[in-house]
């Protein structure tokens, strides 16, 4: 149980007081109504020795963190732990931005408990691979500020469930430069006993900036992803897509905000996936267009395939439009595999099990193929295919 702020920097006490004032969210708290988190905060955590899942062989530029949030290893990038005064000034400035989550007690709780805060500078143009190890019976909180200097680069973050329970909270901050194109992919392989909060803040405060986010979620007992994008200058584009494949009692809550504070900007969001067994998914996608942001083009779509009569999907696409000359679309559908699509594959000698696996694969690949990075594309395709082959096996 957590009863006080951590002691990394001074303002943590203030953030903890902000959390205490609002208290833990419950089912009546709009932005947390699908995800019961109270027990995670009331639980006694008993951290064990750190575990490191290591780094991915496919990528030569990497950073790896162990299961207690400490830096394990890095190559071809600069990683430094920020000093308390640097963290202090970062968040004092952050409080003044349009990202500040005043209503969200858990974000303030996350800040109040930060154990580590890293600055990662990447000057490469390829893929920087970050691995986060999960486990060790620990409650872990850390944050990362990315400084990407090249005009085009990809950041891949992999959450690798090693062993043991954890409540793992991370936040990451991107500030894009003019004409910069950043791809950011999160692959989550948490185990059923592991819980997470994944906060992402992408600030597009320069002309012609492009941020392409994607989360591929393969599990986790309770996973909450909070991607927030602020598009503040013209000709900029922001997207955060998601694919999920849930089994058992997995729970995935995708809560996103994409805000347009400038005209002539674009955004896109496609979040889709499959639910099996007793799994649960909640999508809340908010697109906000401020009063003077004319000529915005924004699209959002959520599609859920429910494969079991005990699985549950909730879709809440939301538009808040204050400008009068914009193009916006949104929608959410929930259903099952199309019987004619499956029959088409069966009529081509493909067994029912393999047909379902191929359809699920197609579902995910449609999003993965949008990632314009051949190496990452190949890696993600292989990962998805192998996950689905294992999941469907011969019996499902």
């Amino acid at each position: 149980m957590i009863e006080s702020a951590a002691t990394l920097f001074k303002d943590q006490t203030r953030y903890f007081q902000g959390f205490e004032k609002k208290g833990l969210p419950n089912r009546k708290t709009e932005r947390w109504k699908f995800t019961p988190v109270a027990s995670l905060y009331q639980k006694e955590w008993n951290p064990q020795a750190a575990i490191s899942a290591g780094e991915l062989d496919e990528f030569s530029d990497f950073v790896s963190f162990d299961s207690l949030g400490e830096l394990s290893k890095s190559k071809n990038c600069e990683v430094k732990k920020l000093k308390p005064s640097e963290i202090e000034s970062f968040f004092q400035q952050f409080e003044t931005t349009k990202f500040w989550q005043e209503d969200d007690s858990l974000f303030q709780w996350h800040l109040s408990q930060l154990d580590h805060f890293y600055h990662i500078k990447y000057t490469g143009e390829e893929t920087l691979s970050l691995t986060h190890s999960l486990g060790s019976g620990a409650l872990v909180n850390y944050g990362i500020v990315f400084e990407i200097t090249s005009p085009k680069a990809t950041v891949l973050e992999s959450f690798l469930g090693t062993r043991g329970q954890t409540y793992h909270q991370t936040s990451r901050f991107f500030d894009l430069k003019e004409n910069q194109d950043i791809k950011h992919v999160i692959v989550n392989e948490a185990t059923p006993e592991q819980s997470q909060q994944i906060w992402t803040f992408a600030n597009l405060d320069h002309d012609k900036a492009q941020y392409h986010g994607l989360q591929v979620n393969f599990g986790g007992g309770l996973v909450r992803s909070n991607p927030f994008i602020n598009i503040q200058k013209p000709h900029s584009f922001g997207e955060f897509n998601g694919f999920y494949f849930l089994t058992g009692a997995d729970h995935f809550d995708f809560y996103s905000q994409i805000k347009h504070f400038s005209g002539e900007t674009e955004s896109n969001q496609v979040v889709k996936g499959l639910l099996h067994d007793q799994s649960k998914f909640a999508f809340t996608g908010n697109i906000y267009i401020s009063k003077n942001s004319q000529l915005v083009n924004a699209a959002q779509f959520n599609k859920n395939l429910v494969m079991s009569n005990q699985a549950q999907a909730f879709g809440q696409p939301q538009l808040e439009i204050f400008a009068d000359d914009v193009k916006c679309s949104h929608g959410s559908t929930t259903g099952q595999f199309d019987i004619d699509e499956l029959f088409y594959l069966n009529a081509r000698a493909i067994s029912p099990t393999k047909a379902k696996r191929l359809m699920a694969q197609a579902y995910g690949l449609e999003l993965i193929q949008m990632v314009d990075n051949d190496v990452l594309n190949t890696y993600l395709t292989g990962k998805l295919t192998s996950k689905l082959k294992t999941a469907y096996g011969e019996s499902r």
């Binding site: 069966n346 009529a347 081509r348 000698a349």
Partner: protein
């Protein structure tokens, strides 16, 4: 090859087929014509095993390698592995899966079932090349998502490509000619004709006699209100072209 006896089929409590009797022998080409809603596509889908249709009466006996099987007992994928092919009127689009991946999965499933070695990608590409050329398809087809963004003609060519890859014993071609211009029709018909051997049989479903100018049937049947009401040779198709279906009522 296939013997359909007194076949009755319903979908959502509506009886669509009301006692079909049809025998197709090895090497024969049969054409089924009939007005809209007469049950032509239903018949093809039932033979291929579509799960939405319920057979309430009758039987389908399928003989391959001198072994007679109760077709209705076989799952749709097993029917395909046993040599039954349905060319779809509306081929399904599958964004996210490349045509090559789909074709290779399909082909290797049949190989595995029949005890033949599976093909790796390079060998499979070599195997595909002459078939693509015959159908005037470029290799770029293989790397596009299955039927996604294909024109009507491209989709139908893709169906015939699958026919040639899987090399079935019985091909059920449901309105393979619809949506094709005359050049594409010739290419598709050429693909179907090259499938014809003394072992293979074809059941063509079509609205128009024009397809039969390119693929010559041995028998033509008229299906109306769920029953075969007339059978004959190619001249029957010409009569339908001239007089429509009213004279059969």
């Amino acid at each position: 090859m296939i013997k359909i006896n007194d076949l009755h089929v319903t979908v959502e409590d509506n009886e669509i087929l009301k006692g079909i009797n049809l025998t197709i022998k090895p090497g024969e080409v049969h054409a089924i014509m009939g007005p809209n809603g007469s049950g032509k596509s239903t018949l093809a889908k039932v033979i291929a095993g579509h799960p939405s249709y319920e057979v309430t009466k009758g039987s389908i006996e399928y003989t391959i390698n001198n072994q007679a099987k109760d077709l209705l007992e076989l799952e749709p994928d097993v029917r395909s592995k046993e040599g039954i092919f349905l060319g779809f009127q509306y081929p399904i689009e599958i964004p996210g899966i490349s045509n090559l991946n789909f074709l290779q999965e399909s082909f290797n499933e049949v190989c595995e079932y029949q005890g033949a070695p599976k093909m790796e990608e390079k060998e499979f590409l070599d195997f595909l090349q002459p078939k693509l050329e015959e159908l005037k398809m470029t290799p770029a087809f293989l790397y596009r998502p299955v039927n996604d963004g294909f024109s009507g003609g491209e989709k139908k060519k893709n169906e015939i490509l699958q026919l040639k890859i899987l090399n079935p014993r019985l091909a059920l071609l449901d309105e393979t000619d619809s949506g094709l211009d005359v050049d594409a029709l010739k290419v598709v018909a050429g693909g179907v004709n090259s499938f014809k051997t003394k072992f293979n049989s074809t059941l063509l479903i079509t609205h128009y006699q024009r397809l039969l100018n390119y693929i010559e049937p041995d028998f033509v049947h008229i299906l109306s209100c769920g029953k075969i009401v007339e059978s004959g040779d190619k001249s029957l198709a010409l009569k339908v072209e001239e007089k429509g279906y009213d004279w059969l009522a």
